[in-house]
């Protein structure tokens, strides 16, 4: 067998690399965010998280992201934000610090990232230990029959903070949504006005001001007055069209007057 040429070699390497990357990428949904992904990548370094090479980790991450993009996998924005930050960190780690540069040093930033990873790993482990404990109703059991000895009944009303907060949220959200719903409290519809005017028109032999027909309770509050006035005006226009009333107005903004037309 001839020596494999460098192309072939690199191709083979690339294939196995890509397989590894694909394995990760297929799993991308399984990662809970960039930190989780970084933690998984760091596992491949097989070292204490405190001694991890952040530079190497940054490279692995950037490679992962670029491969994901090659495979046209949509990565969530926070993965890209992390990629950008790691690219920045990488450049800072590789370049000598500029004299007089402000802000944290690259090694501070790298140390913080290592800390974050270590903390996340520690919390994972703590969570696992917590869940491995004996749990109530699974490994440990309370009294099966809390005793009911006497017949005295003492009714105690109970509510939790959660109930309280939900109740408050319910009330306040109801307010939020008010504008979406027609608020019928202050709205007088034309149908209502028409029905009302039909009953009243029999009594209107002489010219009478429309506003005097407003129902009780609708003449004072400006909001209600406007709604009722508009409804009644529309109603009498309708009645005029049917030849039931005459309408007149002496001038602009003068009171609108109506009169019954006798058949």
């Amino acid at each position: 067998m001839p020596d494999p040429d460098p192309w072939d070699q690199s191709d083979r390497l690339a294939t196995s690399d890509r397989q590894a990357a694909e394995a990760l990428i297929i799993d991308v949904d399984g990662f809970e965010g960039p930190l989780d992904l970084l933690l998984s990548l760091s596992r491949t370094q097989k070292v204490d998280l405190r001694k991890i090479s952040v530079l190497q980790l940054a490279e692995q991450y950037l490679k992962f992201v670029s491969e994901a993009q090659e495979l046209r996998i949509e990565l969530a924005a926070d993965y890209l934000v992390m990629a950008a930050w790691l690219a920045y960190l990488k450049s800072r780690l590789l370049l000598p610090p500029e004299p007089g540069e402000d802000g944290p040093s690259a090694s501070d930033l790298a140390a913080h990232l290592a800390f974050q990873l270590e903390r996340l790993a520690a919390m994972r482990e703590a969570a696992a230990r917590l869940m491995a404990r004996d749990q109530l109703h699974r490994d440990i059991f309370p009294r099966g029959v809390p005793e009911d000895v006497t017949h005295r009944r003492d009714i105690r009303y109970d509510a939790s903070l959660l109930d309280l907060m939900r109740a408050y949220a319910r009330i306040r959200t109801r307010d939020d949504f008010r504008p979406f719903v027609m608020d019928r409290d202050h709205v007088y519809t034309m149908e209502q006005a028409l029905e009302r005017m039909r009953a009243l028109i029999g009594y209107v032999g002489n010219w009478a001001e429309l506003t005097s027909f407003l129902p009780e309770g609708w003449a004072v509050n400006p909001q209600r007055r406007r709604s009722a006035t508009a409804a009644h005006f529309a109603a009498v226009l309708e009645m005029a069209k049917r030849g039931q009333v005459s309408i007149r107005q002496d001038g602009l903004f003068a009171p609108v007057q109506i009169r019954r037309i006798d058949p």
């Binding site: 029959v145 509510a159 939020d176 008010r178």
Partner: protein
């Protein structure tokens, strides 16, 4: 965890029954945790093979003689019961817990978030009248009390929450109550926010409703 491995009890049962002391522990735990009196047959079925729960019941019964709790036979089943002479201590156990009515919990929430607050303000926020019974109930529970009178016409009384309220709900002050935004973030609000945002919890203004739509 004292169990070395899950197979431990099973393996052991293949060779020998647990010691009498061990059997007694088992019967004790089963009777304690069971919601119903347990029959001998049930005990036999529950305990590892080779156990003799009848014997364990005898020693257990003796062990609890004169104690605050006794092992009694109910029909052909067994159960732990409070010693009859201590029945008076159990009175509290019979309290019946009932959920507060929706009106009451809403009223209480408004007092907590808006205190000091007048009845009219509560009604404005809830959008319905507050019944006397509701206020009375909350006062009786010692969760709300009268605050200072409001210095407005009519000098209406206000309501505030009591220390007992704070105690019951595990709050140090009402300022620790989460705001709407936080409630929403915790998933306690089902509704989606309006595009225009929502009222902050400490916005004391009454809902303006649609007035703006009609105002000139």
């Amino acid at each position: 965890m004292t169990e070395g491995s899950a197979t431990d009890p099973i393996e052991r049962s293949l060779f020998e029954a647990p010691t009498p002391g061990e059997q007694e522990r088992m019967v004790e735990a089963v009777l304690f945790a069971s919601a119903e009196p347990v029959t001998l047959a049930e005990l036999v079925a529950r305990l590892p093979q080779g156990c003799d729960p009848a014997e364990a019941l005898v020693t257990l019964r003796r062990r609890f003689e004169g104690r605050g709790v006794q092992l009694v036979k109910v029909g052909d089943a067994y159960a732990f019961r409070t010693a009859p002479d201590l029945g008076h201590l159990m009175r509290k156990e019979t309290t019946e817990h009932r959920k507060l009515s929706r009106a009451a919990i809403e009223t209480l929430a408004i007092v907590a978030y808006h205190q000091p607050v007048t009845r009219a303000e509560i009604e404005e926020i809830r959008g319905v009248a507050v019944s006397r019974g509701t206020v009375d109930q909350l006062m009786e529970l010692d969760w709300i009390r009268f605050g200072r009178r409001r210095m407005t016409p009519g000098r209406p009384v206000t309501f505030v929450v009591t220390d007992h309220f704070l105690d019951h709900f595990g709050l140090e002050t009402t300022r620790d109550l989460p705001g709407l935004k936080e409630l929403r973030a915790a998933g306690l609000l089902d509704n989606r926010p309006l595009p225009g945002g929502f009222l902050p919890p400490d916005d004391d203004e009454a809902p303006t409703g649609q007035s703006e739509l009609f105002e000139d």
